[in-house]
Symmetry: C2
Subunit: 162 residues, 2 copies
Amino acid sequence: MPQTGRSGCPINLTLEQLGDRWSLIVIRDVMFGNRRTYGELLAQSEEGIASNILADRLKRLTASGLLTRRADPSHRQKRIYSLTEASIQLVPLLAQMGTWGRRHTRPSKELSVRAELLEKGGAPLWSAFMDELRHLHLNARQPVRSVFRELQAAYERAVARR
Amino acid sequence: MPQTGRSGCPINLTLEQLGDRWSLIVIRDVMFGNRRTYGELLAQSEEGIASNILADRLKRLTASGLLTRRADPSHRQKRIYSLTEASIQLVPLLAQMGTWGRRHTRPSKELSVRAELLEKGGAPLWSAFMDELRHLHLNARQPVRSVFRELQAAYERAVARR
DNA sequence: CCGACCGCTTGCATACAGCAAGCACAATTG
DNA sequence: CAATTGTGCTTGCTGTATGCAAGCGGTCGG
C-alpha cells in the first residue's frame, strides 16, 4: 500500500498497490459477485470486511484508478462502483491466484468451482470474461457469451449439490 | 497473513498466505535473484527490507511450506533457503503480476525487462523456468535451457545500456 | 586473540487493522 | 407529516504489524 515505495520493479509496484489483505477481495467481489455498492460489498461479504476498511479501500482503489464511482439514479445516496480497464486486466492475475490457492491451500469445494472453470478455460475464457466485464462496467457492447452466468451457475450447482 | 481467515475461497486463502507487502518480495528475490541466505536477501534488497521483517517472513514462509532451510556446509552459521514445489508454482502468478505492473504502473525500464521476457515467453517459458528452479532448489536434474541466465543476461544488458 | 561477519533479536515509535457505535441524509411506510 | 428503515460512510478505541536503530552470541580469517 502507499508506503514509501522503493524500487521500480513491476512486481514490487503491483504489490504496493494491491499487496494487502483487502484490496483484491473488494475487486474480486465487484468482479465475480457483481456487487456494485457499498452496502452490497459490506453485507454480502464472505470474509466479513469491516465497514471502515471497506470505505478506505473504496477510496484508495478509486483514487488509484482501479474503480470508478457514480451516482445511482434509483437512490440519491447510493454510489455505483465500476471496474476500470486496469482492474479488468487483473482477471489473469486473479485466475492464477485461484489456481494456486486451489492446489496449495484447503479451499471449500463450492468456492473452488469458479477457480476451476477459470483454470480449465485458460486465456480464451479469461478474454471472454474480460469482454463481458467491459460490457457490465464500461458500457461496451454485450458479448454473446456470458462467462459470468456460467461461473455463477456452476457455483450455484455446487452449493445445491452440497 | 495469519489473521482469522474467513472464507474458503481460493483467492482469499492465497491472499491470507501471501497478501502482504513483503512475502512475495522475498520469494521473488530467491526465485529471480537466486538469493539464498539471510544476508544476501537483506543486503542486496532493492526494496530495503528491515531485518526483523525479513527474519519474520523467512520464519513464516518456512512454516507454511513455501521455503525450506538447511545448513550451509561452508559456514556453520549460514542457512540456505530454497524454494519448494509450492513456491515454484508461483511463477505464473509472479509473471502475471509483472505483466500487470508493467502496463498499469510506472516501472523502471531495466527492472521491466524480466517481466517483459516472461510475458512474451508465456506458459512454455514459465514451464522451462520452473524446471530450472526445480534443479536449483529441489535437486532435480539440470535442464538444457537456462531461463534464469537468459533473464539475468537481458537484465544486465538493460542496465549496461542505460 | 582480535576484528569483521553472520543470522538473527530487542526496544521503541508510528501506522495500519478490527470492532462497535454513531451520524447525516434519503426513501419508505403508516 | 412523523416515524422507521436504508444507505454510505465516520469516529473512538484497542490491538497488532511495520520500520528503524541498536545489540548479541556464535563463527571465521588472519
